[in-house]
């Protein structure tokens, strides 16, 4: 269906008022929302949405009940999620078989199905309403809250919640005033470095030459961070609107959304959004009849972490190897095709319409002195409530991990939280009262990064974590500059040696020396920050390194070369572990104590996991070298 483009701002505002009114008038009607982001889909949300659609059609409920398949709501742990409005009832772990019951009981008879309600893992308390669930209650979801309100494939849905209103507003103002507003809001880049967005825009606006470009950096490469994916999948128009406002303010006529190829659903939804925005006249020539021309396209990444760095990203958009170059000149002066270019991250762009809609003053009320607004974190790893968490800057780590995250599973002990991805560091339990903002994290030796928070417990070995990240950066180093190419390799090799129990006392000082050199002499941010995971773990967990080196012991019982598995006399000879062992290392007769052939054992821990808890005959230990008399 082809729609007519809005010819003027008045034309758009009239239509938007109609959509707004329509939504208001149906506000009290029962609606069913299924969260269909990638994580929901991975757990079967697609089947559930389909079941609802079929039943609604069969029961001829389409006029009585609204149905919406949205992007991710952020509470990934409890997927697949279904929300029933207007009450705001939240159902977790829903299966296709629950659909009939939800329609009969909850939608028709207004009764809550206790089985599907969220329950605390520690005290069993149940929370039928979405807004009361502890995971959501402490958040302030300026950006993410929109995800549940819109079908990402419907521009009308976005307009009906006020979408593109900020663009219309900006287009009626002087571009310099728009920049002043973003500056006054204090918005800082959400991609990691935290540079003042308004200032960056000003550089690009003031740069001579053109055409100018704006780029959305959606090459979200930090493992464990996926807030950008969620925003692009669930509310792509908010990002496009931010880019349009920025392009108008900076005088740019072309834009690129650079999305990593690992996010197929995001690429798809942004593509649909682009076409819709073009059709309605938000993108293209003479936007909303104001004389502002802007065109936008998508570039797919091709699997290179370094392309998250802005100069490497530009090289890749130009069809070259994604290698960074020295700065200055900064992209604001010489970016895409040598022209003034502004690059912001997805979440940064998504903040822009909020600032223009509510004004800088209201935006700046949230957050700390130097870090304004909210930030989305992905709280993952060894944590009960995995998901996306949007909180005011300045919230303490303790609130995030304990109150929102619900603590550590299986009664294990919290060890550290890793922030900032491969550029960041590990923050130990002693710093849980740290206020999370750009400065707070930097003081602790870590960084904001794109907002990944990976929680680690007593079974996570910090030497292994450091090795993991250094292997990662080593593999992703583009190879252009020597310190990063060779330095990270040396560090990864030393760490591998320590992990194997072959480390020497000099290794620690060697690591520190290499780290300093790489930090100071690398070409781009990838190298500058690559040693951080090692430096922070050395700072806070030196004892673990020393245990590996001096005692040939892995305190977390994690490093395979330093641990062993043994079957004790508790063994009842049930035989479960024998076929479970991939290498056939376990032998033993029925009802006789089994034994593990240490030569064949890979230390994968499968026997440890399959041994029935009431028997618990498999033990894990370290050091590997047990003294034999």
């Amino acid at each position: 269906m082809s729609k007519k483009a809005y010819s003027s701002i008045e034309d758009f505002e009239k239509s938007a008022a109609g959509l707004l009114e329509r939504r208001r008038s149906t506000r009290d009607r029962p609606s069913i929302i299924v969260a269909g982001g990638t994580c929901g889909m991975a757990r079967g949300a697609g089947n559930i949405a389909e079941a609802f659609r079929q039943q609604i059609a069969r029961r001829k409920l389409a006029r009585k009940v609204l149905f919406r398949e949205t992007g991710c709501h952020g509470f990934c742990q409890a997927e697949p999620l279904v929300v029933i409005d207007p009450e705001g009832i939240l159902y977790c772990g829903v299966g296709p078989d629950d659909v009939t019951e939800i329609l009969d009981e909850t939608v028709e008879n207004k009764r809550i199905i206790d089985r599907l309600v969220f329950k605390n893992s520690h005290d069993g308390r149940s929370f039928p309403l979405e807004r009361e669930v502890p995971f959501y209650r402490r958040q302030q979801r300026q950006i993410l809250s929109q995800n549940r309100l819109v079908d990402p494939r419907s521009i009308e849905d976005y307009v009906a919640i006020g979408g593109y209103g900020a663009l219309a507003r900006a287009l009626q103002r002087d571009p310099k005033h728009v920049i002043a507003e973003v500056k006054a809001a204090g918005l800082r880049g959400r991609g990691g470095a935290g540079f003042l967005t308004g200032k960056k825009w000003e550089f690009c606006r003031d740069a001579t030459g053109g055409p100018k470009y704006v780029i959305c950096n959606a090459d979200e490469g930090d493992p464990g961070a996926y807030m950008d994916r969620s925003v692009l999948e669930g509310n792509p128009h908010s990002v496009l609107e931010g880019m349009l406002i920025g392009a108008y303010a900076m005088g740019a006529q072309e834009g690129v959304v650079y999305i990593r190829m690992e996010y197929p659903l995001a690429i798809q939804n942004v593509g649909i959004a682009l076409e819709q925005a073009r059709e309605l006249g938000f993108i293209g020539r003479n936007v909303l009849g104001t004389g502002f021309d802007f065109d936008l396209s998508i570039t797919r990444g091709a699997g290179a972490f370094v392309c998250g760095e802005e100069t490497a990203l530009i090289a890749s958009v130009e069809g070259r190897r994604g290698m960074p170059r020295t700065r200055p000149p900064y992209p604001a002066h010489s970016g895409l095709w040598g022209q003034p270019t502004n690059i912001n991250n997805v979440e940064t762009w998504a903040n822009v319409p909020i600032i223009i809609r509510h004004g800088a003053d209201r935006y700046a009320e949230v957050g700390t002195q130097t870090s304004k607004g909210t930030k989305i974190f992905s709280l993952v790893g060894k944590i009960n409530n995995t998901g996306l968490v949007e909180i005011p800057m300045g919230t303490t780590l303790r609130e995030i991990v304990e109150d929102i995250g619900g603590g550590i599973p299986d009664g294990k002990e919290f060890k550290a939280v890793q922030t900032g991805g491969p550029s960041g560091g590990c923050i130990p339990a002693g710093h849980l009262d740290l206020h999370v903002d750009y400065e707070g994290l930097a003081e602790a030796g870590s960084m904001m990064g794109s907002g990944g928070m990976i929680v680690m417990d007593e079974n996570t070995c910090m030497v292994d974590v450091a090795h993991y990240f250094l292997s990662f950066t080593q593999g992703e180093s583009c190879g252009k500059c020597t310190p990063c190419r060779i330095g990270t390799r040396q560090m990864a090799q030393i760490l591998a040696r320590i992990k194997r129990g072959e480390g020497t006392p000099e290794d620690l000082s060697k690591l520190e020396e290499l780290a300093e050199t790489i930090k100071e002499t690398s070409l781009c941010g990838l190298g500058h920050t690559a040693p951080n995971p090692v430096l922070t773990t050395l700072r806070y967990f030196r004892d673990e390194y020393e245990a590996h080196i001096y005692e040939k012991r892995c305190p977390a019982l994690s490093c395979v070369d330093l641990i062993f598995f043994e079957i004790t006399y508790e063994c009842v000879g049930c035989g479960i572990c024998i076929p479970a062992c991939t290498t056939g290392a376990i032998t033993g007769e029925h009802k006789r104590v089994h034994a593990i052939d240490q030569e064949k054992c890979l230390r994968c821990g499968t026997c440890f996991d399959v041994c029935p808890p009431k028997v618990a005959a498999v033990v894990k230990g370290s050091p590997a070298k047990v003294a034999v008399s």
Binding site: A42, C76, Y226, Y263, R300, A302, A304, A580, T582, C604
Partner: protein, 151 residues
């Protein structure tokens, strides 16, 4: 014009013959064949008027491109941080042992290609194994064999 040339002509005409389309063109060629066949780089180079060395440079730089035919089934293990702390490295050893190949390799019978990925952002269901685009969460060493049997 041979078949490969025809396929590539269709792809390059979609993007226009400029060098900035190079990565997109290679991605589409890769999607069409599931790898970059021998000779395809020459054709791309000629059609986009980009030196072969540049095409080769780009094709070897990005992880998305493979020069060897991939298996009928692609098993991708997520090795993101969240999956790692939940034991992805053990699962990788398990998958390698079961299939007898390392990441990036294909079994001799062309049945499986094993790959790793930095992060798919499905950390809540980690560790994660993806078989032919289907996500299998909460993966364990015991379950890998069963999932691979399905492929």
């Amino acid at each position: 014009m041979n078949q490969t040339q025809q396929v590539i002509t269709r792809i390059t005409s979609k993007y226009g013959k400029n060098r900035s389309a190079l990565i997109s063109v290679l991605q589409d060629v890769h999607a069409a064949y599931n790898y970059l066949p021998e000779g395809s780089l020459d054709i791309v180079s000629a059609q986009l008027a980009v030196p072969l060395s540049t095409v080769y440079g780009v094709a070897t730089f990005f992880k998305a491109f493979s020069f060897a035919p991939r298996g009928r089934h692609v098993a991708t293990l997520c090795t993101g941080t969240a999956c790692h702390v939940r034991g992805a490295s053990t699962l990788l050893v398990e998958a390698e042992t079961r299939l007898g190949i390392s990441p990036g390799e294909t079994t001799a019978d062309q049945r499986f290609t094993l790959e790793t990925v930095n992060c798919l952002g499905c950390c809540a269901v980690g560790p994660l194994l993806v078989l032919d685009g289907k996500y299998h969460g909460q993966m364990t060493a015991q379950r890998i064999a069963g999932v691979l049997e399905g492929g």
